[in-house]
Amino acid sequence: MHTERGDTELIELVLAGHSSVYAQLVERYQNFVFTLVLRYVKNREDAEEVAQDAFVKAYRSLADFKGTSKFSTWLYTVATTTSLSFLRKKKMDVQSLDNEEVFATADNLDGGLSANQVEQKSKVQLVNEAIALLSADDAQVISLFYKGEQSLEEIARILGKETNAVKVQLHRARTRLKEKMQRHFSAEVRDIY
C-alpha cells in the first residue's frame, strides 16, 4: 500500500543526496508558496519567479532546517523574506487596502459583469477577491491561518512577531475583510449576511 511520505522523511532523503526527491516537496507546497508570494508581488510572472527563488533558497539551506518547527513554517518564512527582498530590490509598491486605485479596479471589475454573471459568482470567489484587496500583511496573515494550516504561534515565527500581536492582526484583518466585502460587493454580500 502506498503511503505519502512525510516532510521529514523526504528532507532526510534529499540531504542524503537524493535531490530529485525535492520535487515532491515542491509539488506539495508550490500552490501555497505561490499564493503567499502573490500577496506581496501582484504580478503573476514576478510572483512565480520569486516563488521559484524561495524553493531554491530553501533547498540550498536545507541542512539548516533542524526540525524544531514544521517544514511548512520554515518554508513560508523563506518565502516571506524572499518576497520582501524582491520588493525592496524592485522598489515596488505593495497594493494595500487603502489604495484607491485598487478599489476602482475592483469596482470596474464588477461593473463590467452582467447581473447574471454577478449572481454566478460564488461566495468563495468574493472572499478571494476581497482578500486580494487587503494589504499584503492582512492578506498574508489570513492566508497563513486559513490555508497554510499554521497556528498563531507558527505565524508569529514566520512574521517575526509576538503571538499576541499576530492574534490582534488576524482579528483586524478579518474585520477589514468584512468591511471590504460590504463596501465593494454589497449586492452579493447581502446574500451572505
Partner: protein
Amino acid sequence: MNREKENFSHDEADMEDRLWSYLDGQSDEASKIEELLEENNAWKEKYGELLELHTLMKATELEQPSMRFTKNVMDEIARYQIAPATKAYINNKIIWGIGAFFITMIVGFLVYGVSQINWSEGGSTKSPIGVDLGAVDYSKMFNNTLVNAFMMLNVVLGLFLLDRYLNMKRKTLMKPEGQS
C-alpha cells in the same frame, strides 16, 4: 445619542473579538460564550455571520503557478549543492581561538596597566588592605600613548581578520557547484 452609538459599536467590536477567539478555539471563556449564544439573539446572529465568513475563508482556493513550476525549480537546483549547516562552517575551535586571543590581550594589558600604578603613595596603616585606594596615583595606568595605540591597532586588526574570515566562508558557500 452619539455616546450610545459609540457604546454600541464598542460592544459589537468586543462581541466580534470574543466570537473570533471562540471560533479559533483560542477562547478562555468558551462555556460563557456558549451560554450567550443560547440566550442572546444578537450574539447568535453575529456568530452565524462570522461562522459563515470563517467557513468561506477556509474554502478559498489557492493560486496555482504554471505547469512547469516544479521542473523549473528542479532545473535550477541542479546547479547548486546544499550548503553545509551553519554550525558546521563556523568552526567552534576558531571562535574560541579568537576569543582566547582577545581575552589574553586584554588581561595582559590590564596586568601591565596595574603594574604601572604607583601604589606607594596610597600606603596606609589604617586601611584593612594596607593601601588607601583613594590616595593611589592612577595617572600612570595606560598613560603611555604608544601602548594605547598598540592596543587599539590590535582590536581593529582582530575585527578586520574576523570579518575577512567570515566573508571568505560565505563566498565559498555561495558558489554554485562546478565553480572553483
